[in-house]
Amino acid sequence: MDFGGSPSSSAASMPSNDVVMDQVKQQLAQQYAEEFFAVVRDKCFAKCIPKPGSSISSSEGTCVTRCVERYIEATGIVSKAVLQLGQR
């Protein structure tokens, strides 16, 4: 097995920085999206489905829709508040 002798030949077979950085950014974004989804799902289930029935009623469905929108909005409000505090 030949692992490549000189330092420059092993560098040539490694992915470029740009490729690595893009992959890292993509994976971080994916992870963030998955975590965000899980939190919103849990919060909105807790808020909107106090007593689970045999199906989701139309008012429960509306509640979930609004809950998702409000939670996204809340994230924006909190994000702004944190950045403002950092600037004081």
């Binding site: 920085n17 971080l28 963030y32 939670y71 909190v78 944190v82």
Partner: protein
Amino acid sequence: MDADQKRASFELQQFLEQEKQKAMLNELVAKLTEVCWDKCVTGAPGAKFSGSESSCLTNCAQRYLDVSGLVVRKFQGMQR
């Protein structure tokens, strides 16, 4: 390492440090949003936030960070 490799390695290190900072900030915002949602959005979610819900969220986030600072200073005081 030759000069190109050193430069590439430094660029990558800087990038990773930046992404780490961004991720930590995102984590802080996510944690604050969870805590402040529970404190401030107590009823059914509406079609938009009321003024009091909005200001509650802002105040909650900032007071949480203030408390964080107070606790740190208290601990530091207790170590002397």
